[in-house]
Amino acid sequence: MIYADNAATTKMSDKAIDTMMKVMKEDWGNPSSLYSHGQKAKEILEEARKKVASAIGAEPREIYFTSGGSEADNQAIMSAAAIGRKNGKMHIISSAFEHHAVLHTLEKLEKEGFEITLLDVHENGLVVPSELEAAIKDNTCLVTIMAANNEIGTIQPVREIGEICRKHGVLFHTDAVQAIGHIPINVVLDNIDMLSSSAHKFHGPKGVGFLYVKKTVRLNPLIEGGAQERGKRAGTENVPGIAAAADALLEAIDKMPEYSYSVSKKRDRLIAGLKEIPHSAINGDEKKRLPGNVNFCFEGIEGESLLLLLDDKGIQASSGSACTSGSLDPSHVLLAIGRVHDVAHGSLRLSIDEDVSDDDVEYMIDSVKEVVDYLRGFSPVWRDLTEGKREYIL
């Protein structure tokens, strides 16, 4: 099997599994308990907090562990909105292709009276800093823009965005779920006030994430109860998961230079190979993208059948096709970069990591070519295109 869906989730690393097992077997006490067994768990928890903080240039007390990226996004945005509301600032700026954890939270706030501006991400999938600056108003309380997009992998100019926010005194949150462990991020250098991350995207466990919040920013709990996480996130801590997440993150940061070099080389080969398919197009900027992300549209075919046939060939991938979504809506990310519905239909995301070999890359290129050809062979849309009854878009 070739696993090419690392943007959906990653395999846990051996180190993360070992850590998790050890904590579950030996140090399973409640960190809130006074006796030594509980205090050992507390020690492990605080050690993990230090590791995570060091990985992103934060202080340990600025790290709050959560159940994942979605919770971190919700809590960051709701807290910033609460601060805004108190100060009579009810305007939030974001981008059109954020994850639904961000977009749905913003929709909720819109119903509560907030004004939401979604910046254009253009054809290349990038926010333009000057457009952000122009959108900032006197009553803007928050800018929330993802560090890297989960579908097309484009990397946003986070540092510049952060600088602009600082200049105007606006809080800056970034959903860095796809970025942490894959590209360098430093909350101080990058001018970030709040940052969301999720462990299962960097070879850690599912259901564990963290929120970084600058110490000067007031965080509100989403979950009320005990005084865990300095009173900002009630509930007995998932110590084994948190310990494993911290180790997975340090491992990922350690490997980053080598990973970044070798994986982006494979990515570029994949892109070059898939470009040979006629009437295809890469989605998102070709260079300013995550090392492992490849995303294409192929005209005249539909993504779900493409995925099923690739699965038969042992390749696990994903698509933004309406038919794969359950809701029958095509990917909002592809629509945001200007792909029309027909074209978004034939999209394919391959998100690779270092486990994918050079041979696998060639095999994937050949397989995609073969399957696209085959599906076009009995597509009425492709027939109309080739017979000139319909105009090519790509």
């Binding site: 059948s305 046939l309 009995f378 009425p380 849309v381």
Partner: protein, 133 residues
């Protein structure tokens, strides 16, 4: 659990009656406005019997399997019977479809109905009358 039944996967992997009939006398093309999928059916009707049928589909696995199964269900059948083909019959013949994929089988029913309409228009035949015979 797999997304689709073995039958669906079989018809998806090895679709029956794929292609075009050059001298078809009934052609129907329909699309689903929601998901954007498109299906095209070609019928060759002789003596009120569907002598041959072929399809082309731009769509998901369940749309391809539904078109394939639908062609099998109507091939060699009298027009009067083909008229009564429902999407439910197609879905049942495939050992069921997930709820949110039922509309894909509707596409197959509609494509066939539309091809029959086209046949009616081209030949001036009143299909409803044919049923009485």
């Amino acid at each position: 659990m797999a997304l689709y039944s073995d039958k669906v996967m079989d018809h998806f992997r090895n679709p029956r009656n794929v292609g075009v009939i050059e001298d078809a006398n009934g052609i129907g093309e329909v699309g689903n406005v929601m998901c954007g999928d498109i299906m095209k059916m070609y019928l060759k009707i002789e003596d009120d019997i569907v002598k041959d049928v072929k399809f082309e589909t731009f769509g998901c696995g369940s749309a391809i399997a539904s078109s394939s199964m639908a062609t099998e269900l109507i091939k060699g059948k009298p027009v009067s019977e083909v008229m009564k083909l429902t999407n439910k019959a197609v879905a049942e013949a495939l050992d069921g479809l997930p709820d949110y994929k039922m509309h894909c089988s509707v596409l197959a029913e509609e494509a066939i109905q539309s091809a029959l309409e086209d046949y009616k228009k081209r030949t001036g035949k009143n299909i409803e009358e044919a049923i009485e015979v």
